[in-house]
């Protein structure tokens, strides 16, 4: 599914072909997305595989880099979330929980939206997953699915178009966890901004959004960097933020859990200390320039 040309686009610095397990996981996410869209269109399907899946695959859906990136990020998010245990006092101490009753109504609303979105995202059900899509990806997916049913040429094809329009108009990308987190990060008061550097203090979504905001790299790509094996991308981001080795190793352990063994940790610590903040920022700049250019005015 992830042919090498696409893999190079999605993993610019990767030397390995994505594993079969990853491909299977991505396929599952995409199948859920298509199933969610079909449900939104009123397609009756009791089966595991969406009705339009086969034709969509043949017509290039699995080569849509933006959708694949979304699916890969959800997969990464799920894996990180499994490692990060947030419950009890830790949850209440996290920034979104604290800001939900902020005296600043706008900030409180952002925090509320984020909590709602994060909870919805955890459901992993097709409908919930569709709600996490950015508007442009949902638009792409809806019309791809509608086109499949239209191609059937039956009398119901017009009703699919109408259902597609309804599904789109009911969608609000601001309800997606990443969008809600991006808004909260953007409008976060200066006094709270330091907390963004600590994943324990802000939770995974907000932490990823903080990094995305700081390095101007898309939120989904940050999630993949955090989950990437080996952990060089995360180490680079931690170094670029200017964290000391002790904090960085603790953040690394927190986000990557048992994936770091005692034998590798000292070596990583050494590499981290040898890397200058400037070099780390330069490398991240290269990642960013690969994704989006900055244009100069006047």
């Amino acid at each position: 599914m992830l042919c090498e040309d696409l893999a190079q686009q999605l993993f610019p610095r990767a030397t390995r072909v994505p594993s079969e397990a990853m491909q299977a996981a991505v396929r599952l996410v995409l199948q859920k997305l298509v199933a969610g869209v079909e449900r939104g269109l009123g397609v009756d399907n009791d089966g595991f595989v969406p009705k339009s899946w086969d034709i969509l695959c043949r017509s290039g859906l699995l080569r849509e880099a933006t959708l694949l990136e979304f699916a890969l990020a959800r997969q990464a998010e799920e894996q990180i979330a499994e490692r990060v245990d947030v419950s009890g006092a830790a949850l209440f101490a996290q920034l979104p929980s604290r800001l939900v009753d902020s005296s600043d109504a706008a900030i409180a609303e952002c925090a509320r939206n984020l909590l709602i979105a994060e909870n919805a995202a955890q459901l992993r059900a097709p409908d919930a997953l569709v709600k996490q899509l950015p508007a442009d990806l949902l638009h792409l997916l809806v019309w791809r699915v509608v086109a499949v049913f239209q191609a059937g040429g039956d009398e119901t094809s017009l009703s699919f178009i109408s259902a597609g329009n309804q599904l789109l108009s009911a969608h609000d990308e601001a309800n997606a966890a990443s969008a809600a987190a991006a808004k909260l990060v953007y409008f976060l008061p200066e006094s709270e901004r330091d907390a963004l550097g600590d994943p324990r203090a802000v939770g995974l979504t907000l932490y990823a959004s903080g990094l995305a905001h700081e390095f101007r790299i898309p939120h989904d790509r940050i999630l993949r960097f955090i989950d990437e094996e080996p952990s060089a991308p995360l180490l680079l981001m931690l170094r670029a933020r200017g964290h000391d080795p002790k904090f960085a190793m603790s953040a690394l352990q927190y986000l990557r859990g048992q994936r770091i063994d005692d034998h590798r940790l000292p070596e990583m610590l050494l590499q981290f200390e040898q890397l200058s903040q400037e070099a780390a920022r330069t490398e991240i700049l290269r990642w960013r320039l690969g994704a989006a250019p900055v244009w100069k005015t006047g």
Partner: protein
Amino acid sequence: MQHLPTRLALPIKCVVAADGSLLAADSAVRRLHFGNNGVEGGVLAVPGLLELASLCWRIGLRLERTVYIADKDHDLELWVEAEKQEKAVHLSVTGWQERVATYRPSLPPPQTTAHFEYRSALPSMHVNRSGIILQASASLVDTFCCSAIAEQFDDHFSVVGYGKGLIALLQQQAEIPSRIKIKHLPSGRECYALVDIVRLETGIVAGARLVFLFDDPAQAQTGAAGAVALPSHSGMGLGRHFASAVRQPLGRILANAETIGSELNGSILEQYSSYAKDIASAARHLSELVGDLEDLDAIDKPDFKVAKEPVELGDIAQRVAGLLALKAADHQIELVVPDQEIKGHVVGEFRRVLQIALNLLGNAIRYSPGGSKVKIEIDPAGPSLSVIDEGPGIPVEDRERVFTKFERLGRSGDGGSGLGLYISRKLARAMGGELSIGAGEGGGANFTLRLPPVDPKSN
């Protein structure tokens, strides 16, 4: 990093028309627009905002995004809400952050005062001074169902209301309005296009960039969406009815068999997993056969055409080797790929060249003994791409027969359909090239694909 108070008490507003022109704006946006060589009533010259407006217009949904702008000695980070209304997109900037610029790219000087580049969702086309279409967005190719790249613009389109074609206007350096109405000659469809004349430093017109605007956004959408379900050669008996009828159940078999085989829904007995993998393998084979039959249906039509675009054979070699690396490993075959420095620049349709190369390499892997090598060679002088194996080879008297339809040379049960080489040669010839067979050094087969070289004078 510098963070200043960001939330604006009063949002900064601007209104952008469907064609990207700035209809109205508060002073802050006007400053950015004019600072970037924008003109009154012209296309919004702030790339990030224009991109957001274009996306909002195209998909018709309300959007809230961060927009980055490099503004003189610092960067701007805006929080922008975009909403499509009847005839325009309304942008509302509710957050305004100034940040220390971290990067200043050294861009070449603008080619004209009004020229700027942006990554837009709008379909566009580049036409050189001689009227040759150099590049077109994929959605345009889908919408107009044409393979017009490297062909004359005037052979495919006319400028409505002008006695002369676009080329004549360009060559005379005549005053071309920024917005023209053009007609697609084969289909008779009309639409508007924004014309951005590109001049060299000497002032001579180098060509034009046309940004296509569809009155009805669904028109462009239909083109793109239609292309999903109906490939360019659809509408024929086999392509539309047979292929889609067979693919649906086949795809379901494949998906279910793969799901069961990979035990995604829970573990099963090993032998059942193996059966499921066999089913998946058979379904994949059938699916490939359906694809071959569909291709066969398309290329046997008299009006079958391929695009003419620059293709680099070295790149093709690297890609096919990557795509089939696992298959080669399964067969214990070592793939030998050419150095990345070796290039072969030809003219052809990228996906078709890739298809031929995949067929050749797939055959070589399929028919070579385990432990042998399969080499891909590029001859930059040819230019050609060869796939050489160490298999039993093909006797001289049978070499032309392998290119005939359904010819298997007595083989069976190996997953082949007898159509691949027939299709590949047809495709090679449709691109003005040739696919031939010879013998490799060790007696194996040597398939060579030759395609017309890129004209060194062309761009």
